[in-house]
Structure formats: C-alpha cells, structure tokens
Amino acid sequence: MGKAEVLNVPVYLDYLSTTPVDPRVAEAMIQCLSMDGVFGNPASRSHQYGWKAEEATENARGQVAELLNADPREIVWTSGATESDNLAIKGVAHFYQRKGKHIITSKIEHKAVLDTCRQLEREGYEVTYLEPNSDGLTTPEMISDAIREDTTLVSVMHANNEIGVVNDIAGIGEVCRARGVIYHVDAAQSTGKLPLDMDAMKVDLLSISAHKMYGPKGIGALYVRRKPRVRLEAQMHGGGHERGMRSGTLATHQIVGLGEAARIANEEMQVEGERLKALRQHFWSSINDIPEVHINGSRDHRLPGALNVSFAFVEGESLLMSLKDLAISSGSACTSASLEPSYVLRALGLNDEMAHSSLRFSFGRFTTQDDVDQAAKSVRHAVEKLRELSPLWDMYQDGIDLDTIEWSAH
C-alpha cells in the first residue's frame, strides 16, 4: 500500500510541476533562519554573523557549480528560473544590441522564455520561433539554418516541461560557438536529473530552479560563462550583489537549500535516474495495451520520469475528474482559463482533439512502484468509463473516419 493511500490523499505524480523539499534540504535551511542559526546578511563584512552567512552561501555556490561542472564564480543567484531566463535573454539582447537584434528560440519553450522574447519584439528586436520536429526536438541543424549575421542569442531549452523531451544541447552549443552566437539553455527541468557539464558543453548561460529538484521555491540560479566571457546588462539594480549582475540581499536559507539539493542530486542522479526510467517503462507497459493511446514527443530522448500521453476519444479534463486519486496535469484547454489546448502539443503537429486528451505523468524521488501501479489501474478504468460515454469512440468503432465529418465548430 502506497503512502498516499494510507493518508487518503491523491498520489503525487506531478514532479515536473514542482517537487517537495527533501527533508535533508529542509534541515539545512532551518539552520539558517533564527538567532541561534546562520541568519546574518552575507554582505555584512564587519562581524561574524555576516561572515558565517557568506560562508554558507559560498559553500552552496560551490555545490551548484559542482553539479554543473562549472566555476563557482559563474553562478549567479536569482529568484528562480523565470528570473534567470529574463536576466539571460534581456541581459544579453540589451548588452549586445549594437552587434545585432536577432534572437532564435523554439515554439515550445517555457513561457518565461517566450514572453521575454515577446517583450524584446516590442522593443524592436526580431525573434525566430523554430518549429520543433514531430518528436518535439529542436536540432542543431535547425539552429544552424536559422542563424543570421545579426543573431546574438539562441535560447533553446534542455528538457521540455510538458512533454519531457530532451534536446541535444551539446550539439546546439557547438553550432552556436562556431558561429559566434551566445547560447542560453533553460535547464529548469533537467538540472539534477540529467548530467550537465559546463566545461564540456558549449553553453554560455543556463537557468536552473531549486523547486524542480527537491529544493525550495523562490530560488534559482543563472550560470554565466567566464571563458569566453559572456556579458549581461543587469535587470535588477541596487547594491551590486552577484558581481553587479543581480542586486538584492542574498536569501541565505534559500541558497543553502538549493546548494544542498544540488549536492544530493549530484550524488544520487545516476541511480535515481535508472529507477525512474524503470518506473516510467513499467507504467507505459501497463497501459499501452489500451487501444489508441499515444506517447507525445520522442520515446528515446526524454527525462527518465516523465511521460505525456494522449488517450484518443476522451477529453483531458473529464479524464482528470475521473482520476481524483492522482495528482497529474493535462494539456487540455479546459483545465486552463484560455480554452486553447496546449501550445506545446499543437507545435508538435498534434490535432486539437489529441491535444485535448493528453495527460502528463511525472514521477520523482518519492514515487513508488505501488503509486505507479495505482495510476495505471485508475487510468485504465477512467478511459474505459469515458469511452463508454463518448460518441467519438462509438463512431471510431463503427469504422467512421472522424476527419470526414463536417463538424460545427463553435
């Protein structure tokens, strides 16, 4: 019996959305809050409270740098991956604007990247939004073809937050470096889950987030390469913290939390990755005999614990209603305010119907085999129930091709 079942709460299978703080991380953070702990301002130079806090944040900087195989001086603390993306993209675009005002990204980036690019368009920059292939991947060749004389920045994510597919960032980095273009990677979903080596990969900027890797919310970092040096225009001005790139008093407890999360991830990544991949494969093999079930995005290039699946002829929101024992998310429009199905699934070339019927399952550190078995059982039951209710399923079984029908779109 899984823990969630005992507690009578839904089984949490939404680790791409956020993760619980690891108890070891929480413990490290608690040490940095109260009078008898490391509560000082790391910028205070005149007493030991400040020195101790600085030691704690610098230790964490080293832990994050080690996870990325980078120099600690290349780590800039931010409030999270959204801020890191903003700082990287706006910072580079503004600093190098005399060189050019063209940026390349993909259509399935996180909104923190896409919306930042939209803002730069309003400021007069030109942005190319590359369409990924049907596997959801953006390839080095696509980047190479899109680079122009005036391109200053490429921003293409490592792992996608909705479908979990993983891009060849080392390959894209090679192309960018050869063409003299700065390369930014949103690695919010992959840090601590997949190996990242800044020494070997030609990545210039890399955004990370603590809460996707069992650290606290509200803290992240931006890796900023020193050799060859990448320059940024600061977006947050003030006391000149973080070598002028991001002002604001360092949140010692948050930073220590991220550092400890990075240390644990570094230690456990390989074993945990294999465990999650096995759970994912077990889950898929327990549901793939349901008719008309499809994996969205590449089967081979994906995060170990993530799977996005479309169940034809049933609608995602009603599916979620039947899966109250599971905490998962859907690409269906009906779960959002916009009534538009997922832009990520649309960009993959999925028709609206398949986008409406998608579910994202993401497994993590505290997911057990029992949890996965329960999920598979519930999903099978829900899909069968809703197909009984579905006129589309009726028609499919009668051999009617739904594409030949003239629907009254509304």
């Binding site: 209603m321 429009a333 779960t335 028709n351």
Partner: protein, 127 residues
C-alpha cells in the same frame, strides 16, 4: 476547477447514456460540437404519436460540465412535447448546474443539441 455537487453527481452517475436507432422514424438525432473544440454531444430523442418525447439518450465527449449538461438535458426533455423541449434555454441548464462562467458554452451546446434533435425528427417526418 471547482464544480458544483450537481455537476459531479451527473458526471459520476450520468443518466440515460446510450444510443437509439438513428434510422427509426420516431427517433431524432442531434450531434453538435467538434472534437477540435473539446466537446461533441450526441442527443437522441424517441417521440410517440402524441408528439411527446418518451425516451432520450446521450453520449458526450467533453469536460465534466459538458457531460453533466447533456445528462441533465435528457432528464428534462423526457415527457415534454417537442416545442417545450426545443424551448429549453441554456441559462436554465447553467443555473441548475451552477456552471462557472468559463463553462457556460457547455450549456449552450446542450441547448443546440436538443434543438438539432427536434429539427432532425421534424425533417424526417417532413414537417
């Protein structure tokens, strides 16, 4: 999405799910919506010689409110005359189910479905 108890009840125990013989003379079929929009309703009514709906069945592909709206509709139309059934307003459905504003279109679809079923029946009869 926080749904009312009525929506959840209809969703969990949908009334009158099924299919009537679409080729039969006394059956009218209305199919509205589109898969691309995330909802398709098929409503069928069986009408007796007095012009009273004596049976109704539905199948719906869509969100919880779409399923609840069509389930409720089948309950309401049974025993009604065709004109009465065709006069059911989406606002009545939305009110009964306490649909949130973003889900009002589900009740509109249900209204369209009964109108389409009545129209189909009358066309069959050459009315």
């Amino acid at each position: 999405m926080a749904y009312s108890e009525k929506v959840i009840d209809h969703y969990e125990n949908p009334r009158n799910v099924g299919k009537l013989d679409a080729d039969s003379d006394n059956v009218g079929t209305g199919m509205v919506g589109a898969p691309a929009c995330g909802d398709v309703m098929r409503l069928q009514i069986q009408v007796n010689d007095e012009g009273v709906i004596e049976d109704a069945k539905f199948k719906t592909y869509g969100c919880g409110s779409a399923i609840a709206s069509s389930s409720l509709l089948t309950e309401w139309v049974k025993g009604k005359k065709l004109d009465e059934a065709a006069a059911i307003k989406n606002t009545e459905i939305a009110q009964e189910l306490a649909l949130p504003p973003v889900k009002i279109h589900c009740s509109v679809l249900a209204e369209d479905a009964i109108k389409a079923a009545v129209k189909n029946f009358r066309e069959k009869r050459g009315e």
